[in-house]
């Protein structure tokens, strides 16, 4: 043991000496400024949400949500959004069928199989990041050029149908286009979920003689399920609000009946917001249904997002507890 200990710091005098230094006006100012930036963003968020909720609330009714638009979609008394809700739901549900398997398998490869620094992994990650940054309208062009013209056109040629059955805008092509767009969301969320699983679990499974594939199938994936679900919910929420990719791949301005098969066009909630706010014959008159439609769309996407945030927060807490 060392014999001479430093004299115990006199906390009170030290605090006094620190306080003696001049008050840091610059620190105070800039902390306040950055705080104001944060407050401004949140204020904008609340103004947008508040404006829509306040103005949309009166137009929102059970009849509006479950009513169809078969008479006149600009008629404040009669118009409903059920066909749009069904169309939007159909396209996002179909989308999850395409995007979840591909996204999850890619994430499994990246986390469980790939070596972190190999060239292939880096290229895959680069491609995923790139896909996340492609403008939504370019996805729309891609859907038209690839799915409708190329795939649909080839299918029509193969079946030899006289009038295009596949080579035209449809729910199927819209959901495939959206699946391409939301692939990065699912991959990133699943990756995070897989990373959060404690390595001991995998090692225990392997030590008991399970093969790698068995470990992934029976141990890793079930444990990652909340995270995968988060990814799916986020992808659905992102896709539900997107309009640009479906402009040319499936959304219809108006349809008198509901779509009957995946090769039909559909009416869409987001596109309907666009139609109501730009093509209305009398914007003042149709304002209530416009606000109500926006509110329905917003409630849909925000509710999904809140679920995802809660699931993710729980997952992170569980992860912190486990490690």
């Amino acid at each position: 043991m060392n014999t001479t200990l430093a004299p115990a710091p006199d906390i009170a005098s030290r605090r006094a000496s620190l306080k003696e230094g001049r008050f840091r006006w610059d620190s105070f100012f800039f902390t306040g400024l950055t705080g104001l930036c944060t407050a401004l963003i949140l204020a904008i968020l609340f103004i947008i949400l508040g404006n829509i909720v306040v103005n949309g609330w009166e137009g929102l009714s059970w009849r509006f949500v479950t009513g169809s638009a078969d008479k006149d979609m600009f008629d404040v008394q009669k118009a409903g959004v059920l066909p749009m809700l069904i169309g939007t739901a159909a396209r996002v549900i179909l989308m999850t069928l395409f995007v979840i398997p591909i996204g999850v398998i890619t994430a499994v490869y990246l986390i469980e199989y790939a070596r972190g620094s190999s060239l292939t992994t880096r290229i895959i990650r680069g491609a995923v990041n790139n896909l996340a940054g492609v403008p939504s309208i370019v996805f729309g062009l891609f859907g038209l050029g690839f799915f409708i013209n190329f795939l649909g056109g080839s299918l029509d040629a193969a079946f030899g149908s006289a009038e295009p059955r596949w080579g035209k805008p449809a729910i199927l092509w819209a959901s495939m286009t959206l699946a391409v767009m939301t692939l990065p969301v699912v991959i990133v969320a699943t990756e995070e979920a897989l990373k959060s699983i404690q390595p001991g679990l995998r090692e225990a499974s392997l030590a008991l003689g399970a093969t790698k594939l068995e470990t992934i199938w029976k141990i890793v994936l079930p444990n990652a399920l909340p995270g995968i679900l988060t990814g799916a919910i986020l992808a659905v929420s992102r896709a539900a609000g997107e309009v640009a990719p479906i402009l040319f791949t499936g959304a219809a301005y108006y349809m008198s009946s509901l779509p009957k098969s995946p090769t039909d066009q559909f009416m869409d909630l987001g596109y309907h917001v666009f139609v109501l706010s730009t093509q209305s014959p009398n914007i003042e008159k149709t304002r209530p249904i416009l606000y109500a439609t926006v509110l329905v769309l917003l409630l849909l996407t925000l509710a999904l997002n809140l679920v995802a945030i809660v699931v993710r927060a729980r997952m992170r807490a569980a992860m912190r507890a486990a490690h």
Binding site: L33, I48, G270, F274
Partner: protein, 400 residues
């Protein structure tokens, strides 16, 4: 109990790694290969996007489209001579695909071809005859350079696809996109960086738990809703405040775009600031720096590549955003430096005009060409941001 294969002499040859690869577990081997193949789909998709968007625009890039209003016409009586001498030229002239053309050629009397020739001749007679009509407006010269159309006093950049002379100058659209993007970045970047510094460095941790998801909730608002908000509420509000002429303009669109950009810049910058090791800031605090000094002089410089990535990705988001600008920019293709003029962006043009463009026509091709340009621009920005984030990671791990 001793293991079944404890005695080395009785071990079958496949035990513990003697058989490798697909022979050891064929199913597992197959599954692994399948997983690998599926994981390549992201790469394949990026390629497919480029190839299939560019494919539709290929004739423009190769200079094979001709949009001149007055095309050269051949007399209908020349049909027999042309059929003998140069059927391929005739096919191009009539704009018929090879398969139907082959059918028409074997037809007795060539009735269909005769009618097509006559229609073409009629069209030629009705087409305008001035010098503008002979211009192929899809030529690169006319796409990017000013041209003095008849009736104008000086060379001008004009985007006017739906008119007798299809004018496809893309300069007004590029200027429109850049104007809206510039406003969006000037508005969004300082605010989001400030918020990112505050949330990651200055505010108490319990507050951070609430602020971060709160700000990221902004990303959950669909862009069509932001566009709606800009169109219905923001445009009126800003017009009252600034008192400019046209209600919808680059400024309104830019501010609304900024709302879409804020969550992008915020979350990437916040990630970058948080990823700076705590030892950095603790060392600075121990030396007596205030929290703000630590954040500004230690953490921000260390995370600078991340800030760069955030701004670059914000730019990519702003230039590619469609619904907001389609609804809030006014969509008039005017070349002007003023932010308060109505403006038309590249993305809004594609969204608004593709549905009406004739499938496979020059207008359609030009719109896909714009899409290809957009893809190339965002590909570059994504790549730049990716490289910057890599630099940041390497720097913080102390490997550079």
């Amino acid at each position: 109990m001793p293991h079944r294969y404890a005695d080395s002499a009785t071990r079958p040859p496949g035990w513990l790694g003697r058989k490798r690869g697909y022979r050891a577990r064929p199913f597992e081997w197959l599954a692994e290969k399948a997983i690998f193949l599926v994981s390549l789909s992201a790469i394949v998709l990026v390629f497919l996007i480029f190839i299939f968007v560019a494919r539709e625009a290929l004739p423009v890039f190769l200079g094979q489209t001709n949009s001149a209003a007055a095309q050269e016409t051949l007399p209908a009586t020349d049909l027999q001579r042309l059929l003998k001498e140069n059927p391929e030229r005739l096919r191009r002239y009539l704009d018929v695909k090879p398969e139907p053309f082959a059918k028409m050629r074997v037809e007795t009397g060539h009735e269909t071809l005769k009618i097509l020739m006559e229609v073409k001749e009629e069209e030629g007679k009705e087409a305008p005859k001035d010098k503008d009509a002979r211009v192929n407006t899809t030529d690169w010269r006319y796409l990017v350079d000013a041209y003095q159309w008849s009736g104008y006093t000086k060379p001008e950049y004009i985007w006017q696809p739906i008119s007798q002379i299809h004018k496809y100058n893309i300069v007004p659209l590029l200027i429109g996109s850049l104007k809206a993007t510039a406003v969006a970045l000037l508005f969004a970047v300082p605010i989001s960086l400030g918020a990112a510094i505050f949330v990651s460095q200055l505010c108490p941790p319990t507050l951070k738990e609430w602020l971060k998801p709160g700000i990221e909730l902004l990303a959950a608002i669909p862009s069509v809703v932001l566009g709606f908000f800009a169109l219905i509420v923001l445009a009126t509000l800003l017009q009252k405040f600034f008192g400019y002429q046209s209600r919808l303009n680059a400024f309104v669109a830019g501010i609304a775009l900024g709302l879409a950009v804020i969550p992008v810049v915020f979350s990437i910058a916040e990630d970058a600031f948080t990823s700076v090791p705590r030892a950095y800031s603790q060392a600075a605090l121990a030396l007596g720096a205030t929290r703000w000094q630590t954040a500004w002089q230690v953490v921000v410089p260390a995370a600078l590549p991340g800030v760069f990535a955030a701004v670059v990705l914000g730019f990519g988001r702003a230039i590619g955003e469609t619904m907001v600008v389609l609804m809030a920019s006014g969509n008039a293709s005017i070349v002007s430096a003023s932010l308060f003029d109505s403006t038309r962006t590249v993305t809004a043009t594609i969204a608004a005009e593709l549905a009406e463009a004739v499938f496979g026509g020059h207008h359609y091709r030009i719109l896909f060409m714009l899409g290809t340009l957009l893809f190339i621009v965002t590909f570059c920005t994504n790549w730049l941001a990716d490289a910057a984030i890599h630099t940041l990671k390497r720097k913080l791990e102390g490997k550079s």
